[in-house]
Symmetry: C2
Subunit: 257 residues, 2 copies
Amino acid sequence: MSKQPKYQQVADALRREIDNGTYGPGARLPSEAELATRFEASRNTVRSGLNLLVSQGLITSSQGLGYEVRKHEVFELNASRFENLQFPQNGDAYSTDVTNAGRRPHQTFRVELATTSEQIAQRLEVEAGSRSVLRFCHRFVDDVPWSTQATHYPDWLLQKAPRLAEPGDIAEGTTRYLAGLGVEQVGYADEIATRMPTPEEARLLEIGPGVPVMLWTRTGYTADRPVRCTVTTFRGDLNRMNYEIGDLSARNENEAQ
Amino acid sequence: MSKQPKYQQVADALRREIDNGTYGPGARLPSEAELATRFEASRNTVRSGLNLLVSQGLITSSQGLGYEVRKHEVFELNASRFENLQFPQNGDAYSTDVTNAGRRPHQTFRVELATTSEQIAQRLEVEAGSRSVLRFCHRFVDDVPWSTQATHYPDWLLQKAPRLAEPGDIAEGTTRYLAGLGVEQVGYADEIATRMPTPEEARLLEIGPGVPVMLWTRTGYTADRPVRCTVTTFRGDLNRMNYEIGDLSARNENEAQ
DNA sequence: TAGTGGTCTAGACCACCTC
DNA sequence: AGGTGGTCTAGACCACTAC
């Protein structure tokens, strides 16, 4: 056991007290000055310790108010049912899910023509730098920023489905619109990754320090080829992704948190 | 445009230079003293800016060496094929996957009797606080800590499958062992979440600041009931989870990064 | 107005790495 | 030995929130 630096001791002690319930979710921590006295350290040292807990997502700070223990409220997404053509939904799946959870959905759209990035081109099996349509969506739940979603469609699809490039929402949903034109998605390849947000992502999703994002990339395939690639960026502290595989008829309904 | 604090300006400037390739992956940044001169700031202010980038996972620091731009190398896991009884593997799926990727796997096991936590009990549909078997596994790839995996089995399963409680590996794999006893898993419920690691997790996985963990919870069901719950904790910077849904016969082989 | 956190400085000393 | 980051202090001033 080597001696820990003082700011680590501060962080560890506070973490213990948060874990054991001395400070529950939403509780205010003592002020920096009080902690400095308690730990016999300078204000800056105490700040280092608090900063550690902030960047680990355990507490938040607000100027003029103090430090608070973070509360966690999680929204669950079912990726297996989402956009499933076997269980068709009216409008888009997101609004349906959110409304069913008793929350109020809200979203803003943007459509643009873009050059395809390396990453997207690979998944759409087109050339990097070629033209593609980007439909971008910024989603809120009860006015809290929740996720951003960017769907890329390859150039060749535009001949068949010109409405993809038009601004504004497609009422029946793009998947259904495409299916009506004979472009039916029969398979999805999903990828899930996590990392700390870029400043841009932190701004759009109003993410504070210490909160990672979850990246969900879904590539939709027809029987012949990939037709779209959707990258959804979620606040990691507010979302959980669910998948169902095989026969789950034995599952009952009391597993939600 | 409000005036940014100086340490933010430092962080932003360095981030721009990393993004545009002035400092590529693995490159050394100038020393704190040099940056202090360049930005006309004190060493502490520069440190605040650098600290921000560290906690955002963009750079790392080592005493005596300096700051380095983080490199990213990602290992892909296919959760749809993993442990699939239709595509049986010899031994466990993890070793097979890693070996196929040209890497050297290594793992340590631990088995213990535990009282079931609320979270696990809910998923196994047993009472919280009841007894369960915990099989814990710490996995490495090329001697780098990769993931920890904790599988919980309910008490009632022990009568049928006593070897679950015995220490040491089960050569043919636990899923196959159970199937041989008539306990066949026909469905999985997967949940994926992300957050910053606890100090304990950071220690086991040797995670530095600014790297989140990915939590993969898989509950396995027979035709009648859940029989196991596996919680895997991954380093978020080294792993990506993949799922395949529906018909992907159109997918070709050149999408790997 | 008083109390909170946010920014910034100047300087001291320590621990680690390389030569 | 010299350069690097790591820890810590004491103090100043600013910005925000509450009362």
